[in-house]
Amino acid sequence: MATVNITIDGKKLQVENDITILEAARQANIKIPTLCFLKDINEIGACRMCLVEIKGARALQASCVYPVAEGLDIYTQSPSVREARKVTLELILSNHDKKCLTCVRSKNCELQTLAEELNINDIRFEGQSSNFPIDDLSPSIVRDPNKCILCRRCVSVCKNVQTVSVISATERGFGSTISCAFDMSLADVPCTMCGQCITVCPVGALREKDDTEKVWKALANPDLHVVVQTAPAVRVAIGEEFGLPIGTRCTGKMVSALSHLGFTKVFDTDTAADLTIMEEGTELLTRIKNGGKLPVITSCSPGWIKFCEHNYPEFLDNLSSCKSPHEMFGALLKTYYAEKMGLDASKIFVVSVMPCTAKKFEAQRPELSENGLADVDVVITTRELARMIKEAGIDFNNLEDGQFDDPMGEATGAAVIFGATGGVMEAALRTVAEVLEGKSFDNVEYTAVRGIEGIKEATVEIAGIKIKAAVASGLGNARKLLDSIKAGEAQYHFVEIMACPGGCVNGGGQPIQPSSVRSWMDLRVERAKAIYEEDASLPIRKSHENPAVKEMYAKYFGEPGSHKAHEILHTHYTARENYPEK
């Protein structure tokens, strides 16, 4: 790599020639404040907080987008730079709904942090403030344009990463805002509810629909049997909300906290993930054997499902008909579990703790119900659970490790890895290989489908069949993959798609890390590492060996793919118009 010589604040540096001034300064331990910048996602130089002075340049320049060049003489803290940053930040604050005390992002707000770091103690330029209506009609996402600082991160992630493009800048000048086409609500546009916009938002302009009150109310109702289940990605991220390092496994503490909160039973969604593998694996094998529709595409990710319904209805028959794991679990709880425990199903209240905002929408799908009872009553995200734990005054970091409850608490390593991209694929391969070969394998790790690349491919030879598999995470990658399948450029037997880049560990309901952290490390890698550690630590790592699952088939469903299994564990999909004419 060629290098160039530059000077930053008098320090002479030799740096690679394809980096920005911001990166070069970082290498030299010089911190330049940023606000709109989010590496690889939003590099547009809009917010002007990272301005630096370049000797000879007419105006100040945005360091986040300015490429280094030979001989640049850069000043990051000159009086004009300091003044410009302060004035700009005060201007931003002058049109920001400064309700920090009641803001969900207080203490985790990049604007608040910046105001503190730049020592802003007065706003000299007060004036008119924007006054837009708040959009809270979506079951998953709430948008408050009055807190929006127009950094465009949400627009970039929605448009460039997810290729969903339901939000963009509209209007001009002081009246400009981020909104949907024709000022429609997120509820009425082809939003997939993936929530990636929330996780990139530096302020409180985007948040999940808070459903914690519904949970508190259920917990306080003595007539209800309130149970909770948690997805695998939650346990490797919730610690971040309590100041623990990214990638800390908190399974035991999380279970204890849930018990403290008053849930009658604390279950692991992973049990249902094992069940999913049994059903989905069966579906795959059946379709391969009987010449059914291939590839089978996974259906665990509700953001992906909605994306498919809107944009690729021709692939609906390829989707596995399996309900997503937590929906399967909800259905199990209101049938098998109710019967087993002698409970009135209508008195069972199922709460799912998910890394996902799209699951809130999914839980409201009318088809995901048994005998008129929704499979899952309320979905809360990792962030909402953390807020409940804080509100209950639980000292999370000092909790003893708890255990998931029987009879459905046991799960395998195969289920845990559902939380990372490629995990469903790997779990399925572990089971399919043994079913087809009729024997047990010691090596269960299919590393070809691991990792955070957007699209991964693998061919696995099992019992003489070359199974071609592909894994995509992030809807933009899903789009690429589907387009290549559609164009006949690629053929697969089995495809795993997760709406969020990196899979559920990076879901829209996960703890939010500021740009200052996530621009310079891949939090997906750290969280996924914890997932695979958990997998490796478990005694059983193959879904079909899960004793609870075995028992369910033996006593209730019969065989995987049985009529009863279909009734309770499977669903169907509907093509959706993107912008229907009313």
Binding site: I44, G45, A46, C47, R48, L51, A59, L60, Q61, A62, V65, Y66, P67, S80, E83, A84, V87, T88, L91, I92, S94, N95, R124, F125, G127, Q128, I149, L150, R152, S168, A169, E171, R172, G173, F174, G175, S176
Partner: protein, 597 residues
């Protein structure tokens, strides 16, 4: 080829068209035919002559008689007197109406005397919808010369030597820009034309597009040859329907003649052009926003570097010049760089077209050599200020520019002198203010424009200009506070330094330059709550001088707010609470008994 004994040129620019010049043409056709003159006299629909204040304009050759403010009912007289009998209709003539010898009347008109028309060479001379007329005046000769006699390097060299600088505002040397793009090695390059003229009151580019569209096509083809591009886009605002129509006609004709397309003039050179319509956002005149808009996205600027010559349209090397810049190119190629660089000042070569507006007699379009003084433009060409009022300032560069006060009337106008005065060339709008203009209000007006037109991408422009406007509104409403002027200065300085694009970086200029030259007016507003020019309504009061009032009641009759009362032999009085300060009473009073202060 049919020969005619006389030609009647009728201006079909936007200004004259909107005052019925097309109807004049129809009437002319009817009358020529009924007088059986249609084989002797030819009507030519031309572009703008520039003297828009006096339109509609009809010029009759061979005499060169320039008729102004022609109405449809005047056509009969022109046909019967001039065309049938050979008697010039003196009452309609421009300039010296009683001149004995009118054979040089066009050149004799004061308005044209000091002009030098390079860019506007064909405007008002040819029918823009007929490629043959363009060709008859050396059209496409430069393209032929370039393709058959010159290497791309030689073309760029000529452009560099000519000293031509971008006429769109920045004044970047055109040849250098082309050179950057030519150096890039890639599969595709683009040539773009900025025809998104948006400064309030500016219509230089529109006139060229309407009056001489082929000059643009020819220049863009030359640019394509010079940098190695085969495709080009003309980004023109949709609010210029006549220009868009004539551009399309020109493109179609050029294709038909083999002057655009896959094998131009049989040389194997390929160049195609397409029109892209802008939806009226001022910011789309900024080069990166313009390209973003062509790409089909919301027109917003992006940071530079990379510069368009390296990564422009669809990330490919792109050059972007405005209409006026391009219009110079064919002439430079034909007449040579030395000829061109002999015109103008040391660092600003050639001519500049200005759109004169505001408090000036000859509202219109003028083209003068660089270095002409503001005084010459305003007084000698522009005909001075109406109603004998005093010149106060001229705003150049539109909302991005600044104002130049009386003390600098004799400054030779070029890129660098204007910047030194705190203004800029901009695209060439020149708005004249007289003693009745309040400079704080003028600054507020221009800022209101930029606030409306900010794209909203960066906070300094989006919020900063809005805050400045709020302060100016406060000041002009008589609610200015101690410290407001300093706040304006602080904001202006930082917006200039911080904004993402040229629009934001120059938005504070009108405020800074009025503060520089007319700070006393700001102070009078803020501290004395007075508007010295008597413009800011909240700070002025109309009152009736009882000693002069004859109780005629005219003022009360004309008052739209019914706030003046009185009776016979009792002086009238104005109810200040109801007064809307329209000034109607003052204009009506026959005894000058009403004053404002």
């Amino acid at each position: 080829m049919q020969l005619f004994r006389a030609h009647v040129l009728v201006c079909a620019g936007t200004g004259c068209t909107s005052s019925s010049s097309l109807k004049i043409m129809e009437e002319m056709e009817t009358l020529l035919s009924s007088n059986k003159l249609d084989n002797e006299v030819k009507i030519v629909k031309t572009g703008c002559f520039g003297l828009c204040a006096e339109g509609p304009i009809v010029v009759v050759y061979p005499e060169g008689a320039m008729y102004i403010r022609v109405s449809v009912s005047d056509v009969k007289e022109i046909v019967e007197e001039h065309l049938l009998k050979g008697r010039i209709v003196k009452r309609l003539l421009a300039g010296e109406k009683e001149a004995e010898d009118i054979s040089k009347s066009l050149e004799g008109v004061e308005f044209f005397k000091r002009q030098m028309r390079i860019v506007l060479r064909n405007c008002g001379r040819i029918n823009p919808e007929n490629i043959d007329e363009y060709i008859a005046f050396d059209g496409y000769k430069a393209l032929e010369k370039v393709l058959t006699e010159m290497t791309p390097e030689a073309v760029i060299d000529t452009m560099k030597k000519s000293g031509l600088r971008g006429r769109g505002g920045g004044g970047f040397p055109t040849g250098v820009k082309w050179g950057f793009a030519a150096k890039q090695v890639t599969d595709q390059k683009y040539v773009c034309c900025n025809a998104d003229e948006g400064d309030p009151g500016a219509f230089m580019d529109r006139s060229v597009l309407e009056g001489d569209p082929h000059s643009l096509l020819e220049a863009m083809s030359i640019a394509g040859y010079a940098i190695g591009a085969t495709e080009g886009f003309i980004y023109v605002r949709a609010e210029y329907p006549i220009a868009v129509k004539r551009l399309q006609i020109a493109i179609d004709q050029a294709k038909e003649y083999g002057l655009l397309g896959d094998n131009i003039l049989g040389t194997g050179f390929k160049f195609n052009l397409e029109i892209r319509l802008g939806a009226g956002a001022f910011v789309c005149g900024e080069e990166t926003a313009l390209m973003t808009s062509i790409e089909g996205h919301r027109g917003e600027p992006r940071p530079r570097p990379p510069f368009p010559a390296v990564k422009g349209l669809w990330q490919k090397p792109t050059i972007l010049n405005n209409v006026e810049t391009y219009a110079n190119v064919p002439v430079i190629i034909l007449k040579g760089a030395d000829w061109f660089s002999s015109i103008g000042t040391e660092k600003s070569k050639g001519t500049k077209v200005f759109a004169l507006g505001g408090k000036i007699n000859n509202t219109g379009l003028v083209e003068v050599p660089m270095g002409t003084t503001l005084r010459e433009v305003v007084y000698d060409i522009g005909g001075g200020i109406p109603n004998g009022k005093k010149f106060k300032a001229a705003q150049t560069g539109g909302p991005s520019g600044g104002c130049i006060p009386t003390s600098h009337l004799d400054t030779p106008i070029d890129y660098d002198s204007l910047i030194a005065l705190g203004s800029m060339m901009g695209s060439g709008g020149l708005i004249v203010m007289d003693e009745d203009n309040c400079m704080v209000d003028i600054a507020r007006f221009f800022l209101e424009f930029t606030v409306d037109e900010s794209c909203g991408k960066c906070p300094p422009c989006r919020i900063g200009t809005k805050r400045m406007l709020e302060i100016l509104e406060r000041i002009t409403q008589g609610k200015g506070e101690d410290g407001d002027i300093e706040k304006l200065e602080l904001l202006a300085k930082n917006i200039k330094a911080s904004a993402l694009c040229g629009l934001g970086q120059t938005a504070p200029n009108p405020v800074l330059s009025t503060l520089k030259y007319f700070r006393d007016e700001y102070e009078a507003h803020v501290y004395d709550k007075k508007c010295p020019a008597g413009v800011c309504k909240s700070m002025m009061k109309y009152s009736i001088d009882a000693s002069k009032c004859k109780s005629c009641g005219l003022c009360a009759k004309v008052c739209p707010a019914n706030c003046i009362s009185g009776e016979k032999k009792v002086p009238y009085i104005i109810d200040q609470a109801k007064c809307v300060k329209c000034g109607a009473c003052m204009g009506k009073c026959p005894f000058k008994a009403i004053s404002k202060r």
